[in-house]
C-alpha cells in the first residue's frame, strides 16, 4: 500500500508560515506546549473557526523502544530520562493544526495516542484488543540502537494487524540522536520502505527547536488519515457510519 506523499494533501511546513501563527499559539502556553485535559480543546476566535477532527493512534513496539517518550514528545509533555515500564495503558491528546491544500480549509487534528506497557499486554488479555479497538492509525516503533527491534518490524506488523484493517501504518525509528550507536543504516531503511511500502520517520533528542522536530511525523499522520477517510467515503455509501465518530469533522465546544 502506497502512502500519501508529503505535502500532497496538506500544506507542508505550514507551521513556518505567518498565517499559521495564531493557530499554533493555541497549542502553546508560556512558550511551551499547552497540556490539554480531556475537557479542553483549542478555541479559536469566531472569524478563524477551525473544526476539530479526532483520530485514535496506537503506539506499538517492545518494552524500552521509546513509546512513552514518543507520546510525550508529540504531546509536549516531559520526556522520561530513565525507562519505567508503563504501568498499564496511558492515553494522551495531541492537537495539531493543518491547512488543506485544495480547499484552504484549516483543521485541528486531535490525535489520541494510546501507549501500553508490555507487561500489561502480557498480563491482561484485554489490553491489546482495547488499544486496537477503533484505532485509525498504528505507529510501529523500532529503535536505531537495537537492530533486533528493526528486524522484528514486519512480523510485528503482521502479528497485530490484518492486511484488510482500515489503518494508517507508519514506522517510527526512535533514538536517532544516538547515531554513534546506530545499528540500523540508511540502506536498511530505504529497502524497508520499498519492500513494505510503509514510510519510516526518525525521531530522537531534545525537542528544543519548537515544532520543526515533530511536524514531519504529525503532518504525515494527518495527511494519511485524511486521505484514508476520503478514500473510504468515496467508495462507500454516502452516509456516515454511526460508530465512526472520526469521519467528518467532530466539533468540540
Amino acid at each position: 500500500m502506497a502512502w500519501v506523499a508529503a505535502g500532497s494533501v496538506m500544506v507542508s511546513d505550514w507551521h513556518r508560515s505567518p498565517e499559521s501563527r495564531e493557530y499554533f499559539s493555541k497549542i502553546l502556553h508560556k512558550k511551551k506546549r499547552r497540556k490539554f485535559g480531556l475537557l479542553e480543546a483549542p478555541v479559536m476566535p469566531p472569524h478563524l473557526k477551525a473544526d476539530i477532527v479526532r483520530y485514535k493512534v496506537f503506539l506499538s513496539g517492545k518494552s524500552g523502544v521509546g513509546k512513552t517518550t514518543l507520546a510525550a514528545r508529540l504531546a509536549g509533555l516531559d520526556m522520561p530520562n530513565i525507562h519505567y515500564e508503563t504501568t498499564g495503558m496511558e492515553t494522551c491528546a495531541v492537537f495539531w493544526p493543518v491547512k488543506l491544500r485544495e480547499s484552504g480549509r484549516i483543521l485541528f487534528f486531535h490525535f489520541h495516542l494510546w501507549d501500553c506497557g508490555e507487561n500489561a499486554t502480557r498480563r491482561f488479555d484485554h489490553m491489546l484488543p482495547s488499544c486496537k479497538e477503533h484505532a485509525d492509525a498504528i505507529l510501529f516503533l523500532f529503535s536505531f540502537t537495537d537492530r533486533g527491534s528493526f528486524e522484528d518490524l514486519s512480523s510485528q506488523m503482521s502479528r497485530i494487524t490484518e492486511p484488510s484493517d482500515r489503518l494508517v501504518r507508519l514506522v517510527v525509528g526512535t533514538k536517532f540522536d544516538l547515531f554513534m550507536h546506530t545499528d540500523v543504516t540508511e540502506r536498511d531503511i530505504t529497502r524497508f520502505q520499498e519492500v513494505l511500502g510503509v514510510p519510516v520517520f526518525r525521531v530522537g533528542g531534545d525537542v528544543s527547536g519548537g515544532f520543526g522536530e515533530i511536524a514531519p511525523l504529525l503532518n504525515a499522520l494527518a495527511e494519511n488519515l485524511w486521505h484514508q477517510d476520503c478514500m473510504h467515503t468515496s467508495t462507500s455509501v454516502p452516509t456516515v457510519p454511526s460508530n465512526s465518530g472520526h469521519i467528518g469533522p467532530e466539533i468540540i465546544v
Binding site: 475537557l39 515500564e85 504501568t87 495503558m89 507487561n119 482495547s130 477503533h134 465518530g245
Partner: protein
C-alpha cells in the same frame, strides 16, 4: 526533603531471601549487606522473634516488614529526618502499590520468581514517586502517604460535583467489589476523575462518550474549584486566625483529612517549610502521644509493641499535646471524632495555644460539617 537519596528500599522473597528489586538511593547497597539484612531477620524468625526495626546513633533506621508470608520489604534510611513512622508508612504504601498493580494473588502466591521480578518492573514508576514524595511542589499539602487518610478539599457547593461523580461512576459500571481496572481521566490539568470498574465499558467508550457527557457541563465549575483548592482545602466560609500558620484536620471515623496553609505571608517560613513542619509535628504527636492512631494493623501486630509508649506509667490517654520550637508553636487536640494539628506563629502566647486550637477545631467543624 530529597528522600530518594537517603532511603533505600529492598524487596526479597520472604522464604528464601532472593532479591527482587532495589529502589531509591543512588548508591546501591552491596549484595553482602543485603544478604546480612535478610540473614539477621531470618535468624530472628528462627528463634520466634520478629525483627521489626533498628536505629543507629545518628538516627538512621532499618525497617523490616513481611507481607503475606510471601515478600519482605526492607527500608534503609541514613537520614535522621526520616522518621520510623515515615519509613513504616513507606513500606506499607509500596506494598499497597504493588497490590494495586499486580494483584494480591500474584504477590502472595508467587511461584515463578523470574516472572515476578519482571512484572514488578511495572511498579517502579509508582514506587519511585513514593520515594521522591515531597520533592515536587505539587505534593505539598498532601499528607495521605503519612496519615493514611484520604486528602480532601472542602468545596463551597459540592452537590453538583457529587451528583455528577455518582452518575459518572454508575455509567462506568463502577462497583467496589469488582476492581479489575482503575481508570483515571485527566479532566483538566490538576483534576482527575478515577473509577474502579470491571471489564466493561471499554476505556475508549468511557473516555470518548461518558467523560464528555458528564463532565463537560462542569468544566467551569471544576476550574473554579482548582483556583479555590490552590489556596486552601477548606471552604471559604471558614476564616482562620491570622496567626495560624498551617493545620491538618483528620476525621478519625471516615479516615479523611483536610489541610490548610494561612494565606498571610510569613517571610521567615516558606510554605514548603510549613508543610514539612506539619508533617514532622504530626509524626511527633502520633508516635508519642496519640498512639491509638497507630492502631495495630492486622498485618503486623508486633511492630506496635516495640514502641516507646507514653502511656506506660500513665493511666490516661493524652488528648492534647504541644511543642514549641524556634520556628513555630505546635498544638494538637484529639476528640473521639477528630484530630487537629496546628502550627501557629511564635507570637501566640503558649498558654493560649489550647484555646486557639479548640476554637479552631470548633470553627472548622461547625462551618464545614467535616
Amino acid at each position: 526533603m530529597l528522600q530518594s537519596q537517603s532511603v533505600q528500599l529492598l524487596c526479597l522473597t520472604a522464604s528464601s531471601g532472593v532479591p527482587l528489586f532495589s529502589r531509591g538511593s543512588t548508591k546501591q547497597l552491596p549484595f553482602s549487606i543485603i544478604g546480612s539484612l535478610n540473614g539477621v531477620h531470618m535468624f530472628g524468625t528462627g528463634h520466634d522473634a520478629a525483627l521489626s526495626c533498628c536505629e543507629t546513633e545518628q538516627g538512621g533506621h532499618v525497617l523490616w516488614r513481611v507481607f503475606h508470608d510471601s515478600l519482605m520489604l526492607i527500608g534503609v534510611s541514613s537520614n535522621a529526618n526520616v522518621s520510623e513512622l515515615h519509613l513504616r508508612r513507606l513500606l506499607e504504601n509500596v506494598w499497597n502499590c504493588m497490590v494495586l498493580v499486580l494483584g494480591l494473588d500474584e504477590l502472595a502466591n508467587a511461584r515463578n520468581v523470574e516472572r515476578l521480578k519482571r512484572e514488578l518492573r511495572s511498579c517502579y514508576g509508582l514506587i519511585d514517586m513514593l520515594l521522591e514524595r515531597g520533592v515536587d511542589d505539587r505534593d505539598q499539602g498532601l499528607m495521605g502517604d503519612l496519615t493514611h487518610c484520604a486528602d480532601c478539599i472542602l468545596l463551597p457547593q459540592p452537590d453538583l460535583i457529587q451528583d455528577t461523580l455518582e452518575s459518572f461512576t454508575r455509567a462506568a459500571e463502577s462497583s467496589p467489589n469488582v476492581a479489575l481496572r482503575l481508570l483515571c481521566f485527566q479532566l483538566l490539568p490538576g483534576v482527575i476523575a478515577c473509577v474502579l470498574c470491571g471489564p466493561r465499558p471499554s476505556l475508549y467508550q468511557v473516555e470518548n462518550e461518558q467523560v464528555c457527557r458528564f463532565w463537560s457541563p462542569l468544566a467551569e465549575n471544576l476550574r473554579s474549584c482548582l483556583d479555590h483548592a490552590e489556596r486552601s482545602s477548606l471552604s471559604p466560609s471558614v476564616s482562620l486566625r491570622r496567626d495560624v500558620l498551617a493545620l491538618l484536620l483528620i476525621n478519625r471515623e471516615s479516615r479523611r483529612s483536610v489541610t490548610s496553609l494561612s494565606t498571610k505571608a510569613t517571610p521567615h517560613l516558606s510554605p514548603a517549610r510549613r508543610w514539612e513542619l506539619l508533617r514532622l509535628f504530626y509524626t511527633f504527636a502520633v508516635t508519642r502521644y496519640f498512639t491509638s492512631e497507630e492502631s495495630p494493623s492486622s498485618e503486623c501486630p508486633t511492630a506496635e509493641l516495640l514502641h516507646e509508649e507514653f502511656s506506660s506509667g500513665f493511666t490516661h490517654l493524652p488528648v492534647h499535646c504541644y511543642l514549641v520550637t524556634d520556628e513555630c508553636k505546635c498544638y494538637a487536640v484529639q476528640t473521639p471524632q477528630h484530630q487537629l494539628f496546628l502550627l501557629t506563629d511564635l507570637s501566640v502566647p503558649t498558654f493560649t495555644l489550647r484555646s486557639v486550637a479548640t476554637h479552631t477545631l470548633d470553627a472548622v467543624t461547625t462551618a464545614t460539617g467535616f
